[in-house]
């Protein structure tokens, strides 16, 4: 009843091309943004910022990047962890080697390093597809692991291979407290999400989707596969690289190559699949599912058991956490193969017709 577009007439192309054509959506998004920027900082504790919200935001950003490549362009990648690592170490090198390097340009330069790396490892996509490409991008993962463990120069000659940054600031404002880190990550995420959304709506985004749906047909109607695939790799790895730099700089503070190992690649792929392939919203749902759910289960299970008078050992809780998590993934893939984003849009669709479904 409330969620209906009756009476909302579009009289210009501009109005017709809006990201959120329905008024209620626009208001919801504005309210959500206001909530995220203003209300959340006023009640969330330091723990929520540092342990849940910040990793969620950064992983959502990374999932957004992976989704462009996997969801929109159909190039399955298992090298996302490597792109994150290149972004993190790239940004780190710019940050420590150039005196007084500001944080934001360092992050962007880190993202550009990842772009270059992504394009190089995207080249096989011109010849191989699907699972074969997934294996080829796995090479990027192993190469990055090797590179950051072996090439001393990249880790600023740190004997243990572990590096750290401090004194982060943006325009003179220190990024130290949980709230400031949260705001910073949220701002970056909002800007990138907006850019990404517009990108996938534009000509290049439609080229990506055409390549994804049927590359031969796309080529026949004049889309250059080389250009489309490599731009998808470039844009995706730029975003993933930025996320990697944020993960290292803002979340961990000190990190080693293992922070970006193949597990991270898999987790990012899960986020995209569970969140929803080819959907910007899906990246947020997927990140929330993969980042927040294990932490939530880890704390919730002992609590739930104590309600019924049982005590759960740490060991049992972690094993149960893994089992429940795995079962939920399988359940989601069976019940809703298009991801949480599809569930969301189905819900919206039903709301539009409610209470008179047809």
């Amino acid at each position: 009843m409330l969620y209906r577009e009756n009476g909302q007439f579009k009289t210009s192309y501009r109005a017709d091309l809006q990201i959120f054509p329905i008024l209620q959506d626009r208001w919801t998004i504005l309210a959500l943004l206001a909530f995220a920027f203003l209300v959340v900082p006023s009640f969330a504790s330091d723990y929520y910022f540092r342990a849940i919200l910040i990793p969620f935001l950064i992983m959502a950003l990374a999932a957004l990047g992976v989704n462009i490549l996997v969801g929109y362009c159909g190039q399955i990648s298992l090298g996302s962890g490597a792109f994150m690592a290149v972004g993190a170490y790239g940004a780190y090198n710019f940050f420590v080697r150039i005196p007084d390097m500001p944080l934001v340009p360092a992050l962007i330069l880190g993202g550009l390093c990842a772009t270059a790396f992504g394009i190089v490892f995207g080249l096989p996509s011109l010849r191989v597809k699907g699972l074969y490409l997934a294996v080829a991008t796995l090479a990027a993962q192993f190469f990055a692991d090797w590179m950051f463990l072996r090439i001393k120069w990249l880790v600023n000659d740190s004997p243990s291979g572990s590096v750290s940054v401090n004194g982060l600031q943006v325009f003179g404002l220190p990024i130290e407290s949980g709230v400031s880190k949260y705001w910073f990550c949220l701002t970056v995420l909002c800007i990138v999400a907006l850019l990404a959304k517009n990108l996938v709506r534009s000509a290049i985004g439609r080229e990506w989707m055409a390549i994804r749906d049927m590359d031969v047909a796309a080529a026949v109607i004049g889309i250059r596969p080389v250009y489309a695939k490599l731009t998808a790799f470039a844009v995706s790895s730029f975003i993933v690289g930025m996320a990697g730099a944020l993960w290292a700089f803002v979340y961990l503070g000190a990190w080693e190559p293992a922070a970006f190992n193949v597990d991270v690649s898999f987790r990012l792929l899960f986020m995209v699949i569970i969140g929803g392939l080819g959907s910007i919203t899906g990246a947020f749902f997927g990140a929330a599912f993969i980042v927040v759910l294990p932490i939530f289960l880890n704390q919730f299970l002992p609590f739930a058991a104590s309600l019924v008078g049982l005590s759960v050992s740490t060991e049992a809780a972690s094993h149960a956490e893994l089992m429940i998590f795995g079962a939920l993934i399988v359940w989601f893939l069976i019940v809703e193969p298009h991801g949480l984003a599809k569930l969301w849009s189905t819900g919206k669709q039903k709301l539009r017709l409610w209470p008179f479904p047809h």
Binding site: S162, F300, V335
Partner: protein, 443 residues
């Protein structure tokens, strides 16, 4: 379509309920809280589990036997990290704000690196017994880090001394080949600078052979060992890597008595599965094992016999279990020491505990009263020295159990001190920090 949405709604409601729960569940009481970061899952679980059990059982024993520290009850909560840095950071953030917060022992080198930055801002001490950042021995630079009883540099130094002794003098090492088979992570790479320093001093040749974490794939590494034919192999492994290395050595035909492991490669889970195949393998012993020490007897009596033990009873007194006990005992003693200054029977703040850690003085008599006299050497820390003791022994696997040799080795101060100082200075310069003032030591 209705079923999943109803379930989702249910999940959302339970989520909301659970997020509110932790703040309610913990009442403000006269309790000293010990966060226990541990890993009972993942590739390092076989070694992480007895360690975590020992830590937990000691706290239970102090509560059961003494009723806490001067009447202050000890509480604890475990948080599973799985040895992953990001989960470790999450655990730290989750537990650091608890009332009665004492100190952290992250149980992983990677997590230690990530937390070193954070504890300085949060003012919470970080103890890393036998692991962590070697340069953190310099208490004037690292105010909140305590690598008690030894770091990877002291461990590596003692291993070279032991090998030198076996050869009949350190000068006999000239021209020899020593290979370091190490876990390719900060943990495995930490000893390299010291070994290179010793290489320069004695003229042996150091070969570095990395093994990718977690270390189950070592064929290439042992092929390299076979090619290089080193006189000695130093094993810097953890978890499954150790037993795999011993099996590979057996398969390669590399003599096990020429292999020397760090103290994290010298526990029962590392050699038990290899059994006779590991016979002759040596490792550093930071502590003894066995159920004879009084502290272990007390744990059996007050915790396990009452059916409140954490792990299986037959694991009590194993090498890593005992190490967990020592770690927790030193943490508890730091609180006791702090209470002597800031008021007995009070809950100590992390800053007060830090003072206690910096002024630990456990001599033989004190250790005997704790039941730890047969287990470890006396330890005394200071403002400048956050390690307190740098001794260790060598132990050998006889096919069934570890035999600890009686002789103690002490790391060479003359080599380690300048390296620690230089490393700490570099750290401070990188971070644009300054050394602590002398007046800060009194606080």
């Amino acid at each position: 379509m209705m079923l999943p949405r109803k379930l989702l709604a249910l999940a959302a409601i339970t989520a909301a309920a659970a997020t509110l729960a932790p703040s309610v569940a913990f009442a403000q009481a006269k309790e000293q809280f010990f966060p226990l970061l541990s890993y009972r899952t993942g590739p390092y679980a076989p070694n992480g589990t007895p360690w975590a059990n020992g830590k937990q059982d000691y706290l239970k024993m102090i509560n059961a036997r003494d009723g806490g520290i001067n009447g202050v009850k000890l509480t604890f909560e475990e948080c599973e990290t799985g040895y992953a840095t990001d989960r470790g950071v999450e655990c730290y953030e989750r537990l650091k704000g608890r009332p009665g917060m004492t100190l952290f022992d992250p149980q992983a080198t990677g997590i230690t690196f990530a937390l070193t930055e954070k504890v300085d801002k949060d003012k919470i001490p970080l103890i890393t017994l036998g692991y962590g950042l070697s340069v953190a021995q310099d208490g004037n630079a690292f105010k909140w880090n305590f690598p008690l009883m030894g770091s990877y540099w002291t461990g590596a130094d003692i291993l070279i001394q032991a090998i030198g002794k076996k050869e009949g003098g350190l000068d006999k090492l000239k021209g020899k080949k020593i290979a370091l088979v190490y876990h390719d992570s900060p943990f495995g790479k930490e000893p390299i600078p010291l070994l290179q320093e010793r290489e320069r001093m004695h003229g042996f040749k150091l070969d570095l052979i990395p093994v990718t974490a977690p270390g189950v794939e070592q064929k290439a590494a042992w092929l390299q060992v076979r090619q290089l034919r080193p006189d000695y192999v130093l094993l810097w492994g953890w978890g499954v890597m150790n037993s795999t290395a011993l099996k590979e050595a057996q398969a390669t035909g590399y003599p096990r008595d020429k292999m020397y492991g760090v103290w994290w490669a010298g526990a029962e889970p590392d050699t038990k599965d290899v059994g006779e195949g590991a016979k002759g393998y040596n490792a550093l012993a930071l502590n003894t094992a066995g159920t004879q020490p009084k502290v272990i007897q007390d744990i059996l009596k007050f915790v396990h016999d009452k059916g409140r033990g954490t792990g299986p009873k037959d694991e009590v007194g194993s090498v890593l279990y005992t190490r967990g006990v020592i770690i927790q005992a030193l943490g508890v003693e730091a609180v006791r020491r702090a209470q002597e200054r800031y008021g007995k029977g009070k809950v100590m703040t992390p800053e007060q505990v830090r003072w206690g850690l910096e002024n630990l003085a456990l001599d033989q008599k004190k250790l005997a009263s704790l039941g730890l006299d047969q287990v470890m050497k006396p330890i005394s820390t200071s403002c400048a020295d956050h390690m307190g003791s740098t001794t260790a022994r060598i132990e050998t696997w006889d096919g069934k159990q570890w035999i600890v040799h009686p002789e103690y080795y002490t790391a060479d101060e003359q080599i380690i001190k300048p390296m620690v100082k230089a490393g700490a200075d570099k750290y401070l310069a990188d971070k644009k920090l300054t050394r602590r003032a002398a007046s800060d030591c009194a606080s």
